[in-house]
């Protein structure tokens, strides 16, 4: 019998779609970052997730999770953590490099927003990596 999607898989696809829909413009449209935009994105993703996850929960009869789901979840979190740590190391290395050669081409008022943008981007990439890793893990041998 063909394996249909489990509750956790449906939930993950909804999460990934929401993340790409809300965070996509952040990367692809190169919009000017601001505190309001970050707050707006966070609120949008929370609201969309609540709506989508509620619909999935209402439409899915069997909502149990088992040991395989938990193992896949752990793998996803490991991938997300490693991505975040790697990006942090790269980001801090670049910061150190710019500070060393004294070529930090940003107005001092913009430094805070710049860091907000960079670290928020890192969190987004790590989160998307976590979700995508879990989706792939459901389709591959463990």
């Amino acid at each position: 019998m063909a394996p249909s999607l489990s509750y956790r898989e449906k939930s993950l696809y909804a999460s990934l779609a929401t993340e790409l829909l809300v965070y996509g413009p952040f990367f692809f449209l190169h919009q000017q970052i601001s505190l309001n935009k970050v707050a707006g994105m966070i609120i949008a993703i929370v609201v969309l997730q609540i709506i989508l996850q509620s619909i999935i929960a209402a439409l899915t009869r069997n909502r149990i999770t088992d040991e395989r789901d938990r193992l896949i979840e752990l793998r996803g979190y490991r991938a997300g953590y490693l991505t975040l740590v790697s990006l942090m190391v790269i980001g801090l290395g670049m910061l150190w490099f710019h500070a060393t050669v004294d070529r930090f081409p940003l107005d001092s008022r913009m430094v805070g927003l710049h860091f907000l943008s960079v670290f928020f981007g890192m969190l987004i990439i790590a989160d998307i990596t976590k979700t995508a890793t879990q989706i792939v893990a459901y389709r591959r041998p463990l």
Binding site: P3, S4, L5, E9, N62, D66, E67, R68, P141, L142
Partner: protein
């Protein structure tokens, strides 16, 4: 007597149907606890349900 479906087995073992399918297709090695539960539900010895293949793909 009705044959046991994947969903029946999954419900009685306490896993999802997708996990039962993954075990059948050799895509997931269950924990000992789950393996014992499967054997008990099916009413057969553990070694009849699961065999270890040292030359397996995974």
């Amino acid at each position: 007597m009705r044959e046991m479906t994947q969903q029946d087995l999954a419900d009685r073992v306490g896993v999802t149907r997708q996990t039962v399918i993954a075990i059948e297709q050799d895509k997931y090695s269950p924990s000992l606890e789950t393996a014992f539960k499967v054997a008990i539900v099916l009413g057969v010895p553990l070694e009849q349900c699961f065999q270890y293949d040292p030359h397996g793909k995974r």
